[in-house]
Amino acid sequence: MLKKTYDWIDERLGVTPIWRDLADHEVPAHVNPANKMSAFIYCFGGLTFLIIMTQIISGMFLAMYYVPDIINAYKSVKYITDEVLLGSIVRGMHFWGASLVIIMMILHMLRVFFTGAYKAPRELNWVVGVLIFGVVMGFGFTGYLLPWDQKAYWATAVGAKIAASVPWIGPYIQTLLVGGPDLGAVTLTRFFAIHVFFLPAALLVLLGLHFFMIRKQSIAGPM
């Protein structure tokens, strides 16, 4: 029955070749921790992706309660933390996950750097990886404001001031991010939009490219 269903879909969509490309390739011995314990350093990339998935999922659940306006943002975060079933766990996951993604990403980057895996022909994948780094830092910056508590507000006020001090284009960045001379209602909606629409779109495209290139070029051989 299952086989028949699969064949029926396969006949129409040709999923077998896609499946083969995605899943059916040999993983070299030197990245396998089962062969050599020190190969666990090759897990950092996969773990970064795993934590990013928990960020996406916990973020989607937070969005079920979170309200991005200055009257209700704080109240909704308080409600999530104190009242919602497992709300403090989901919020904790999203909060601590932000740090964990960055830690894992730095470890992954250092692994790639010190094993020289960015060398030809994998330069482009390194570039995409550095861009992902930038996007993830952007997530951290825009996410920090959303609970609209004192810590969030004043940390972002400092960040916005720093962005505004950029010569020539500083005022334009200020307008784009903050929406006016002072941090306020517009800032919160902008940061929310950037955090949940712009950056995830960018991240998914870049991750897609990152993984596509890994499959195309395969993992760098042993040193």
Partner: protein
């Protein structure tokens, strides 16, 4: 793929179904063999992550108040090094710290594959790249550490206002009630001997929020994610609930 005298791996056939005498080079299929091992590592990390979350609840400070400029701002830890860098740069050339230095660092990182073009990949065989990165990481770590220390000093000099000042000056109502004794034996480990909260939240003023019946219900069924059900049972639960319901704030 090398020819193993007609025993070449059939695509999609996992390792455990391969013939025993088939030679291997230590490689294995991504799916399901390798992915399974990755998932084992992943689930260990996830369990550790969840435990960390449970024991480190996220705080929520007071609601944002643009008028209160006494709050000492601090960015999240991963921006501390940039923040600290600016402290060493005088005001009129602040752009050096906000744009030029981070810009150069980011560009160097982005262009690493073109700056380090020789074939050698072992870190010891390309000292400039290796030491460059080590020094950059040490410098960033030092900046982060300094920022952290200076922030803690500033906090010690100018302690932040408590988020909920009413908790501080509220006294426990009726401390000689029999319920207080049951509370001290069963509940104080989590909610604090002074009701000020520890693992569990503060219960000072809980009477404003709940009636005795509601508190009894919470004791009976617990409160996710941490508070277990039926810590206190029967008559004792009624007494504790009635005493807690008296904890009202004006």
């Amino acid at each position: 793929m090398a020819d193993h005298s007609g025993k070449e791996r059939i695509p999609g056939v996992p390792r455990y179904r391969r013939p025993k005498d088939m030679p291997t080079s230590g490689t294995e299929p991504f799916f399901p063999n390798f992915l399974l091992k990755e998932w084992i590592v992943g689930s260990v990390i996830l369990v550790a992550f969840i435990l960390w979350i449970i024991f480190n609840p996220v705080e929520l400070t007071a609601v944002a108040d643009p008028a209160d400029t006494s709050f000492i701002p601090v960015p999240d830890w991963y921006f501390l090094f940039l923040y600290q860098l600016l402290k060493y740069i005088p005001g009129e050339i602040i752009w050096l710290g906000t744009v030029v230095i981070p810009g150069i660092a980011f560009t160097l990182l982005l262009l690493a594959p073109w700056l380090d073009r020789r074939k050698a990949r072992h870190p010891m065989k390309r000292p400039i790249a290796t030491w460059g990165m080590v020094i950059a990481m040490v410098f960033m770590g030092w900046l982060t550490y300094e920022a952290r220390m200076q922030h803690e000093e500033a906090l010690a000099k100018n302690p932040p206002k408590p988020a909920a000042p009413q908790v501080k000056d509220t006294a426990i109502v009726d401390p000689n009630d029999p319920g207080a004794k049951i509370f001290a034996q069963n509940c104080a480990a989590c909610h604090g001997a002074e009701l000020k909260g520890q693992v569990g939240p503060s219960l000072l003023g809980v009477g404003n929020k709940y009636t005795a019946e509601q508190i009894q219900g919470i004791i009976k069924s617990g409160k996710p994610p941490i508070m277990p059900a039926n810590v206190v049972q029967g008559d004792d639960a009624v007494k504790v609930a009635q005493w807690l319901a008296k904890q009202k704030q004006k």
